[in-house]
């Protein structure tokens, strides 16, 4: 048995040395992978960081223009402005108008929603045409979806106007 002691010790030492070598190689490979992944993620984060910096600069630079832009959109807290706008247009054109319904329509927009207003009005053909023009000229972001005019008695016409306004969403993400 004594004559094999050296061989056993040598083999044990060889085992330890190989284990150490494999450990070092494995760790180096792991570190290399970590470096590659971190650099890749870091590059992406830097790009995001740059984009965010640019976005912040854009937002700061365009503050007055954005404020002006916001005046065309009805604020959620100021939804009555839609009704006021329609009633004012009717008053200006001397048309007897009645708001039939105000409905918030479903939308894919994130921050805004369309509000459909149906108005009925009575007057001469010319005044209803001017009323339609006044509705088209409202400063609020809006558009006429459809108009239906029917002749009534004594050169009087009955009109039904469907207008879509845009307002801020009541619940924003």
């Amino acid at each position: 048995m004594k004559k094999f002691t050296t061989l056993i010790v040598s083999l044990l030492l060889l085992g330890v040395a190989i284990t150490l070598f494999v450990f070092l190689v494995t760790r180096i490979t792991t570190f290399t992978t970590v470096i590659a992944k971190a650099k890749e993620s870091s590059a992406a984060a830097d790009m995001r960081d740059t984009a965010l910096q640019n976005a912040s600069a854009l937002i700061a630079d365009t503050a007055p223009a954005r404020a002006e832009l916001a005046t065309f959109i009805v604020q959620n807290s100021d939804s009555i402005r839609i009704i006021d706008a329609v009633e004012s247009a009717a008053k200006r054109e001397k048309v007897t108008a009645t708001i039939g319904s105000v409905t918030v329509l479903p939308t894919k927009w994130q921050y805004h929603e369309p509000v459909q207003v149906i108005v009925s009005a009575r007057g001469s053909f010319a005044t209803l045409a001017r009323f339609a023009a006044a509705l088209e000229a409202l400063p609020e972001a809006s558009r006429i979806e459809n108009i239906s005019l029917e002749a009534s008695t004594n050169h009087s016409w009955f009109g039904r106007f469907t207008i879509d306004f845009v307002k801020e969403k009541s619940v924003t993400p």
Binding site: I28, A38, K39, S42, A133, N146
Partner: protein, 182 residues
Amino acid sequence: MVNLLPQSEKMKLRTFYYARLWSILALLLTVATLAGSAFLMPAYFLARGEADAATRSLAASEENAKLYAATGAMKDVSLLKERLAILKDYESDAVTELILSRLAGDASGDVGISSISVSFSSATAGKVSIAGKAKTRSSLIDFGKKLSDERIFSGVSVPVSDLVNETNLDFSIPFAFTTSAP
């Protein structure tokens, strides 16, 4: 040379010889492996340092991005983008008065309009449906011709079914309009 050692001694010697031979080989391999490990040590420490630095740099970049994201700049940009798209979509010319005035202007004394329906498919285009009563067949045909002569109207055609009577003809004419036509 004659080997006079007994067979058992010969076996012992051979075993001893091979044990020593393998021991030396194992030791040599051990030395070689240790030398290899020693050479790998600088690479190991360098890689470990680099990995730590890269991880720290990534954490710093992400922290920076979080700080900027917290300012809500992206939300503001997204809101601005949506508003611009909406205003572009809702931009329209005042065309209704033009359409209505053309319709009323084309109707002569012999043609009475009882209803008009205008629906927009875009800011400058859509469909019109006009209904009423014409005193004579020719006055209805003339009215249809006047409408089709208008550049903003297209597809104006008096339905044959509306021309059955000779007098007092009820009519309904659907057609399209586009105010952006050259």
